[in-house]
């Protein structure tokens, strides 16, 4: 029986990995120009198919897909870590204001030294610091204010509205920063290439490794504070470590793909539904699910052209990936809320 139980979770891993790869292949194949599977194989073998198509696949679609998978994993892991620490299913980086912190810090950096505009590799440092400060602030305040569940979300919302006002302030007084602000708040994978993969990769590597290693620590925390300290865990230290980790994961992802919201909410929730609360299972699962969601959303975003029935607006725009995740995620948030709050009353 035990074998069967284990295999269920491995079956899930396999299914998810296959789906992620399938999305990957679809991403390579479809877009403004579609190519056939055999052409794709030719390109990967290194045979010249057509230089333009090869460039599009190798220089645009492949890195973009890798970023989608990495950023999705990171946001999913950040979400599941935050939810485990707070024991609150509603907590997610963008909801508690971490992404706003990243954005504001980056914008400040841009306005103080506009030359950062051209070197996007420096910006993540600032975004990291901003995200980290906000995370610590939100947790510190909600700890002090007590009543963790409802308060952490509210404090997050309030802090993020202050940060957004500060961002608007900069924006309205110095409009030249507008383009870069929008880039950050929209949340999109358009135009992300290998250079961005290199930016996100160290964050992803360090963050995901540490995250997976800390799964058992998280399990320890779940037992409750007294029990955890009996096990020799310093509760405060562990919590701070995990918090820092989730901030790093969020900042790394946000600094490359912008404030894509709600990803850190869906993955963890589904993962816990499948495998329960055990962090050693729910962490990897939520990483995979979130990676699937973001890469899938980006695939949809790339292939969906919206014709708006508005006479004065005769563009046929494409939506950014952040739009798709928001359209998926916000109703999901409502659903989770309904399930946890309305029925059980947290």
């Amino acid at each position: 029986m035990r074998h069967l139980f284990l295999s269920k979770e491995w079956r899930l891993y396999v299914i998810l990995v296959i789906s992620i790869l399938a999305i990957g292949i679809a991403t390579m194949l479809f877009g403004k120009t579609s190519i056939s599977l055999s052409e794709l194989l030719l390109i990967f073998k290194g045979d010249e198919a057509s230089p333009i198509v090869e460039q599009i696949v190798m220089q645009l679609r492949l890195p973009r897909y890798i970023i989608a998978v990495l950023a999705g994993s990171m946001l999913g892991l950040a979400g599941v870590i935050l939810q485990s620490i707070t024991k609150n299913p509603l907590v997610e980086p963008s909801i508690i204001g971490v992404t706003s912190g990243c954005v504001l810090a980056a914008i400040l950096a841009i306005t103080i030294a506009p030359s950062f505009l051209t070197t996007s590799s420096v910006l993540p440092v600032f975004a990291c610091v901003g995200g980290l400060i906000v995370t610590l602030l939100v947790f510190y305040m909600s700890n002090k204010a007590g009543n963790g569940g409802v308060h952490i979300a509210l404090i997050g919302v309030l802090i993020s509205s202050i940060l957004q006002a500060a961002t608007s302030f900069i924006l309205l007084t110095r409009q030249e920063a507008m383009g870069s602000v929008l880039l950050w708040i929209i949340g999109s994978l358009n135009g992300r290439v290998w250079i961005h993969v290199y930016i996100i990769l160290p964050f992803a590597f360090i963050g995901i490794t540490l995250g997976l290693l800390s799964a058992s620590l998280t399990n320890g925390l779940r037992l409750g504070d007294t029990q955890a300290s009996l096990l020799g865990l310093s509760v405060t230290k562990t919590r701070l470590l995990l918090l820092g980790l989730s901030a790093v994961l969020t900042a790394g992802a946000v600094s490359v793909v912008g404030a894509i919201g709600f990803i850190g909410l869906i993955g963890p929730h589904l993962a816990k539904r499948f495998v329960g609360e055990d962090a050693r299972k729910s962490f990897p699962l939520s990483i995979l699910i979130s990676a699937l969601i973001l890469s899938g959303s980006d695939f949809v975003a790339q292939n969906l052209i919206v014709a708006l029935p508005i006479p004065s607006f005769n563009q046929e725009p494409q939506l950014p990936a952040g739009a798709i995740t928001a359209l998926l995620g916000a109703p999901f948030f409502l659903y989770v809320l309904h399930k946890h709050v309305v029925k059980r009353g947290i």
Partner: protein
């Protein structure tokens, strides 16, 4: 004991009232042209010839200042009622999604360049706000436990904000600039027609809010005690929620989302009066709200003249920081 508190609220309320009148007069004087008191008196009694003075005072400054006081009073009351209803001092009417609903409508009109008459725009925004607020209130019937309705509102707001960001992504520079001005919350260039948009709501909902003090005091005893007194808690809460949404919706529709007035004023009131009795607190909250918004707006329109920055930025940044400090200091004490 009760008498002492009433005196206290009079001690606090009277100077506050005088202060509002003082700033109101100041707001009529300052700007371009700047008027001394004598000239202002002449203008107000229509004895001054220059047309530009008359328009500046009667058509620009006065409606705007009155608007600021009214909006401040309404937002502050909305916040007080909501915080008391849910016994949660982090609750603000922004969280019932009224704000996000209105903002969404305005974003849609601005970015897609819909040919909507200027005068109709506030009403469409109001409709958007009321629909969003109504959705939250309506779907929250069973979730009055411990303020979880506020989380529900947060979720709906998050959804609408995501839609707004999508719309932003589709716009061009000028449209986005305008939209950011609206989304920041501003009183600039508001005139009598906006005052009249606000007026019926002010007349209906402000007395209702002030009159809700007794219900709020009953709720403060806790749900069970309230039921014990024969009150239908759910009905009462829905009514209070509707009052709060009504106060907020019309302000947001006409001025955009002016943040943190509704969050910070009830806290200040409690600190000033050192009582949680709503009958005494509500009027002071109202006065404080009017005072804060009027002062804030005066600052924002005179400091950078001829440029104006939205007052909502000031209230959010200063009010927000103040709020965090209060929260922090209270938590240190306990």
């Amino acid at each position: 004991m009760v008498n002492k508190r009433i005196y206290k609220s009079i001690y606090v309320g009277t100077p506050l009232f005088l202060l509002i009148i003082y700033i109101f007069i100041l707001s009529l004087q300052l700007g371009e042209p700047r008027l001394d008191l004598v000239t202002l008196g002449q203008v107000l009694t229509n004895q001054f010839e220059l047309e530009i003075h008359r328009i500046s005072v009667w058509e620009i400054r006065m409606p705007r200042s009155i608007m600021a006081i009214m909006a401040g009073v309404m937002l502050a009351l909305a916040g007080h009622v909501l915080q008391e209803t849910f016994q949660n001092d982090l609750a603000t009417p922004e969280l019932i999604s009224v704000t996000a609903g209105s903002s969404f409508v305005m974003a849609f009109i601005t970015v897609f360049g819909l040919p909507v008459l200027f005068i109709v725009q506030p009403f469409l925004a109001l409709t958007g706000g009321l629909i969003a607020g109504g959705f939250v209130i309506g779907s929250a019937k069973n979730s009055f436990k411990r303020g979880s309705i506020i989380l529900l509102g947060t979720a709906v707001s998050a959804f609408l904000n995501a839609l707004i960001i999508i719309i932003i992504a589709l716009g061009k520079e000028n449209q986005i600039g305008l939209l950011f001005f609206y989304l920041a919350g501003s009183l600039s260039a508001r005139n009598w027609s906006h005052v009249f948009n606000l007026l019926p709501w002010f007349i209906i909902f402000v007395p209702l809010a002030l009159g809700s003090a007794r219900s709020l005091n009953v709720l403060r005893l806790g749900d069970e005690a309230a039921v014990g007194r024969g009150a239908s808690v759910i009905k009462m809460k829905i009514l209070l929620l509707v009052i709060s949404a009504g106060l907020t919706a019309v302000v947001v529709a006409n001025c955009g989302p002016i943040g943190f007035i509704s969050l910070i004023t009830p806290h200040l009131t409690k600190r000033l009066l050192r009582t949680t009795n709503s009958a005494l607190g509500l009027p002071i909250t109202a006065l404080l709200g009017g005072f804060l918004l009027l002062t804030g707006d005066l600052l924002m329109r005179t400091l950078l003249y001829p440029i104006e920055l939205p007052v909502g930025l000031l209230t959010t940044i200063i009010g927000g920081s103040l709020f965090l400090t209060l929260l922090y200091r209270r938590s240190v004490r306990t």
